[in-house]
Symmetry: C2
Subunit: 371 residues, 2 copies
């Protein structure tokens, strides 16, 4: 149960508990978000010589100070209402905040972090709210193209399988490097973002399919003669799409398919989508991992037939934050498309390479799909 706000009333009751009843609660609260949105981090580590916290809420690391009991503490902020990742570094070892059960996991160690939710005065667009809720399903499927058992996640909108009898379109949505097929639901809150947009009448109902985004295991080299995106693309086209279209009541033509992804997954969504306009008509990339040196090769087909592309593409959308190291590549892609007169939306935003940015992008993209 991750949503802090929902427990707020009870949490206040806990804080007010007399000491005798509170004896089973952990002695240290970390992180603690005060009503003014200042955040205090704490760690009991009498033997440690140095403890710091780094996270998406600040540049660099902040040192914690040790008291006579060996409790390290620092208070930061006030912070904007958001969901932030952070890590403790204890005597040079980067790890999680051991006092916080809300842990970000993924497919490689570098992704492990603690999660801090700073609530605002009202629920955010990515929060669970009292509206109809869709479902999240996870499937294991045997990938014939990759020869492994893989998992994918599916979001179905409220009413799917019930009041909604017609076939619905599908957004294929990819995570970034070091993450996995649960990232868009657990960190991206895709279900709540879409539940909220649907309740507000701002989006059409569609399914979201979130496969595991690696064609080869994280950190492994691709077999000679191919690459991660090519292998992932084979699994997508030959295994994932047929699996979904045989199991779900979905549209099966290009008008009913969108493809998007973030970072590594943005490189995949643009690289695969723009080469398979026979399959996809909405293509998007969020802070996409793009190599300008490869544009003329990766997007040769697109550049060769801009009129065809403009006729087939209902939308080509990509965004990147100005503080993201991938921003120059996004700008280059924008210029490449302009040079070839290919219609697109380049969304320049503030922000770095974080889920804070990608939740916003999904919220902006979803209303544009399947209109």
């Amino acid at each position: 149960m991750k949503n802090l706000r929902l427990w707020a009333a009870v949490a206040i009751a806990v804080l007010r508990m007399p000491p005798a009843r509170a004896q089973q609660t952990p002695a240290l609260r970390s992180p603690e978000v005060a009503p003014d949105r200042r955040v205090t981090f704490r760690l009991l580590a009498p033997k440690a010589g140095e403890v710091s916290v780094s996270g998406e809420f600040q540049q660099g690391a902040r040192s914690l100070q040790k008291d006579e009991r060996g409790v390290w503490t620092v208070t930061i902020g006030p912070l904007d209402p958001e969901i932030y990742n952070y890590n403790f570094t204890i005597d040079g070892v980067r790890t999680i905040d051991p006092g916080n059960p809300n842990v970000k996991t993924g497919s490689t160690p570098s992704t492990i972090a603690s999660i801090l939710e700073v609530p605002g005065d009202a629920p955010a667009f990515y929060d669970g709210q009292p509206v109809p809720h869709g479902e999240i399903r996870s499937h294991w499927y045997a990938s014939k193209s990759l020869g492994t058992l893989r998992r994918l996640t599916v979001y179905t909108p409220p009413g799917y399988g019930g009041a909604i009898r017609r076939r619905l379109p599908v957004l294929y949505l990819f995570h970034g490097a070091n993450a996995d097929e649960t990232a868009w639901t657990r960190l991206g809150h895709v279900n709540w973002i879409l539940d909220n947009l649907l309740a507000a009448g701002k989006s059409k109902p569609f399914l979201v399919v979130m496969p595991f985004g690696y064609g080869v295991p994280p950190g492994a080299p691709a077999p000679a003669g191919t690459d991660n995106t090519a292998l992932f693309g084979r699994d997508l086209v030959e295994d994932v799409i047929p699996f979904i279209e045989s199991r779900y009541r979905v549209e099966t033509g290009r008008d009913g398919r969108a493809i998007a992804g973030l970072s590594m997954g943005g490189g995949e969504s643009l690289g695969i989508g723009l080469n398979r306009l026979d399959l996809f008509s909405y293509v998007a990339g969020f802070s996409a991992a793009l190599r300008p040196a490869d544009f003329s090769k990766t997007f040769a087909k697109l550049a060769a037939n801009p009129q065809d592309a403009n006729r087939q593409l209902h939308l080509l959308w990509f965004g990147c934050g100005a503080q993201d190291s991938l921003f120059p590549a996004a700008r280059s892609f924008h210029e490449f498309l302009d040079a070839h007169q290919i219609r697109h939306v380049f969304h320049e935003s503030q922000g770095a390479h974080t889920w804070m940015v990608w939740r916003h992008y999904l919220n902006e993209l979803a209303p544009l799909l399947f209109r």
Copy 2:
């Protein structure tokens, strides 16, 4: 992608990579499982003064030894093929193994651990195998009885919604303290255990519904005049069961409902189930949190009408491991039931208070349900 075996062929390729191509792989592998099932843990921590590993594979903690580069190492085993939890303690701070992306999370900090999978020569009963796979669904629902937004997880067997058109029975299955509604799928492998039993013809198909097991937030006291089990039971009966029966093609009578849980959830499944034989006909507890001093009160209804109970109960099953601190309570419950001539199965096994035991119990219980 958690299943190590599936990546074995590629992992070997990675190990054989020439150093030039391996530069992006993390320098340290931890844990590393050798072919003889010895396991090596590693940590880069030049500034640390003491590092140890504790886990379900051993009693107590084992110290790691530091080399001149500041790399701490220990090799243990060989271990039996199993899935084990473990923690590192770095200068007195209990945390995860920062080199292992496979992290056990839950609803309180005390549950956070790293996960070690030691594969055997053949897939285990809890491993993903090339058989038809069911689905895992997660739903958010507004609990009217508790006034909060809560999540539950549902396993549907292969064929549900497809080849299987009839209504299926349901097992309501509860996690333990400090865990959450994802524990039985992520740590218990409920889906793979049932997929494998079904493929072997050893179990009837049924759905498994896994709600969030707290009536009050973890660590919080219950409001005066009630308790956690009573509040959880209200949510179960008034919200969860109606939600499931309105959304899924399931049986709606007592013959088609089973209730089980582990530890705190076992206290819940026995406490609720045995008092609501109008709703449940199969009742089970795994290493259940039971208080012998309360038996005559908690199970007063059962003790007062043993003939009714024996007629209504298709199965009362509970198991506990001999090395579990809750074993004496389980034995007392066995004696209490014997004294009241209530038919039951008391499964005394080896093992402590661990998921290793509970995966086995589910594998033993499932074939007995809905026969």
